[in-house]
């Protein structure tokens, strides 16, 4: 390995990650009351919520870092939340069968589960090795790590200087991008003691592991565990999220967004199927993390909110209840992202740095550039069938939709399907407003990475529907 790590570096890294996980665990314990979470899900959610919690606390509390240094203040808060969660007796309930979904499970041989677990372990170990073997990608350096370094070098440390937000000479570093990745990187630097571009790479396989853990956790509620493990293994066989631009080892925000987005979408789906409040809460927390990770996360969060409201209204009508009788559970999906996005949006209002990537969204720009749409759609169509990027995931996804049209009568299934198709349509349309001199260059570099956040949901839908078609009979189709 080439990580060039000293003993004190390793100690700092362990402390930073340990505190991050503790914070996430405490947030999880305080948020979830009813549902049972498996061990893998707990680790995955602890890491994601910890990264989100740490980065948000750094952002919100930065005005007081001149009085109390960032890492000590956040460590105290973490310890406090852990004690609070313990005092309230919020142990996570043991995993039990979720009655409404349990009929999809089956008996399977344990040797298969063990073999797949070993295969997944090998995949993850290879990912960590490759992360230490490679440098940050271009965007990983100049869009995200640069902000971590600036925050680290600033006095007091941890506070992103307001002057940076309005620094026209660094507009290319996208100062308006959300801060989950940079501030989590800063958290590592604050404990290691200096900026280390080698060690910070270890964060990104951890985000990928969280994505895999969530995928397994959600899938195992819907199918036998061996099939859920197979799905997790299959996720690691998609080239673009593993090795391409935006991959799990490059330091980009696409895999963290995929983890948060998949969690938000899948927990909302489970909430729609079961009506359990905790799923809405988890969906809201992860939706707000998506907003805090990348600007595209706001599109995902908006879809989750609007589609969930519509779906609940449809369910209420079918059950002959008032249409907004269940609004109380859905409002989390609005409140949480708004609490996260609001202060950041307010801070940027006065920055004055123009967005280099997109022109203002006006009817004039739309009418002038609408001819770009067929070109972008053709590019998307080519991208979706590239086996060197996606295997044959997207053609298989399309085929399962054709096979499963009857199942799509259920509003929760339509929500899940829409979570892939509607953002895909929005991502395609947005290039109409691209401000790049050659907009096709923009499409080429950005569109494939945008699909990373949709691929896990597409894979879940594909595996589930294929499995159900393979075992179907006359009564089920």
């Amino acid at each position: 390995m080439n990580a060039d790590i000293s003993g004190s570096d390793a100690t700092g890294l362990v402390l930073a990650l340990g505190l991050l996980l503790c914070l996430g665990r405490a947030i999880l314990a305080l948020s979830v009351r009813e549902i049972a979470l498996g061990r893998t899900e707990v680790w995955a959610l602890s890491f994601l919520l910890g990264a989100g919690g740490i980065s948000l606390l750094i952002f919100w509390l930065s005005p007081v870092f001149g009085i109390v240094p960032a890492r000590w203040l956040l460590s105290l808060i973490t310890v406090g939340l852990v004690l609070l969660a313990s005092a309230r007796g919020r142990r996570l309930p043991p995993r039990t069968n979720d009655a409404k979904l349990a009929s999809n499970r089956g008996v399977e041989p344990r040797w298969l589960q063990r073999a797949l677990s070993v295969a997944i372990g090998v995949q993850c170990a290879a990912l960590v090795l490759m992360a230490l073997q490679t440098s940050l990608g271009w965007d990983g350096l100049i869009n995200f790590e640069i902000k971590a370094r600036i925050a680290f070098a600033n006095r007091p440390s941890g506070r992103l200087p307001l002057a940076y937000l309005s620094d026209a000479s660094r507009a290319w570093s996208h100062p308006g991008y959300p801060l989950l990745v940079p501030l989590t990187e800063f958290w590592l630097y604050s404990w290691i003691g200096y900026a280390h571009q080698g060690l910070v790479k270890l964060l990104f396989p951890a985000f990928y592991l969280s994505l895999g853990g969530l995928f397994y956790g959600v899938s195992s509620r819907l199918m036998p565990k061996s099939h859920a493990l197979l799905g997790w293994f299959a996720l690691g066989l998609l080239p673009l999220p593993a090795i391409g631009p935006g991959a799990a080892i490059t330091g980009y925000a696409d895999v963290p967004l995929a983890a948060a987005g998949f969690g938000a979408i899948s927990f909302t789906y489970l909430a729609l199927r079961t009506g359990i409040r905790d799923y809405f809460v988890l969906a809201a927390l992860l939706s707000s993390l998506a907003v805090w990770t990348k600007r595209e996360g706001a599109l995902l969060a908006a879809y989750v909110l609007i589609a969930a409201v519509v779906a609940r209204a449809v369910q209420a009508r079918r059950e002959e209840r008032p249409p907004f009788a269940t609004a109380g559970t859905v409002w989390w999906l609005l409140a949480a992202p708004a609490i996260v996005a609001g202060p950041w949006a307010w801070l940027q209002r006065g920055s004055g740095v123009p967005d280099l990537d997109f022109s203002p969204v006006t009817l004039g720009t739309l009418s002038a550039n609408v001819s770009r749409l067929p070109i972008v759609v053709r590019f998307l169509a080519r991208e979706l069938v590239l086996p060197g990027h996606w295997g044959l995931l997207w053609p298989a996804f399309a085929m399962t939709l054709v096979l499963s049209t009857r199942r799509l009568r259920d509003v929760s299934e339509r929500f899940l399907l829409g979570a892939v198709l509607i953002p895909m349509g929005l991502y395609t349309s947005v290039f109409v407003f691209s401000a790049w001199p050659t907009f096709t260059d923009h499409v080429g570099t950005a569109l494939p990475r945008l699909l990373i956040s949709l691929a896990p949901v597409a894979l879940l839908v594909t595996i589930r529907h294929l499995r159900e078609c393979l075992v179907c009979d006359r009564t089920s189709i």
């Binding site: 078609c469 393979l470 189709i477």
Partner: protein, 179 residues
């Protein structure tokens, strides 16, 4: 639907699902081969994992030395922290990608100084090269537009700029003091 039609329909669905599953598996196998080949390339070409591994990789890939050389040179030259620096390169001596890549990395390293990329349309530039950067013909005006008191010059060229001092930062980079 009559029972026989139902059974045929079920068989069709199962057949298509089975074929799709096989195709999906083939696609995953293709993906795994792609991943393994790329991993092999990473192992052959692996970078050092030090604190500045990434910036050094980008600088060295453009032939610009290391971050340590740049930062040591800037410290020896006593470059103030609150100044504007013009990053200048003649377009005949550098590719567009290398120019902007090195400019942004220099800006990253020289923070909090403000670094402005000024590509110079020098007399040796071929037709059409200047437009692709884009590059300025009037270098004095372009540097003045950013109120730059210093120039970070790529390459060994004579600039049409009056400068007081030069500091050699590396074999490829020179800092010019315009005061």
């Amino acid at each position: 639907m009559p029972a026989t039609e139902d059974r045929r329909h079920v068989r069709r669905i199962k057949g298509v699902a089975a074929a799709t599953t096989v195709a999906l598996a083939v696609g995953f196998a293709w993906g795994e081969v792609t991943i393994v080949r790329q991993y092999q390339r990473f192992l052959r070409e692996g970078t050092a994992g030090g604190p500045s591994a990434t910036v050094d990789w980008f600088l060295q890939s453009a032939g610009m030395g290391t971050s340590e050389e740049l930062l040591n040179g800037v410290a020896l030259a006593r470059l103030p922290a609150d100044v504007d620096v013009a990053f200048v390169a003649p377009v005949s001596r550098i590719s567009r990608q290398d120019f902007w890549q090195t400019c942004y990395v220099s800006s990253y390293l020289l923070y909090p100084r403000r670094v402005w990329g000024v590509a110079w349309c020098d007399p040796g530039a071929e037709t059409g090269m200047c437009e692709t950067f884009p590059a300025a013909s009037d270098l004095v005006a372009a540097v003045s537009a950013h109120s730059a008191r210093y120039v970070l010059l790529v390459g060994d060229v004579e600039l049409p700029l009056t400068h007081v001092r030069t500091h050699r930062l590396s074999s490829s980079l020179t800092l010019l003091d315009l005061q």
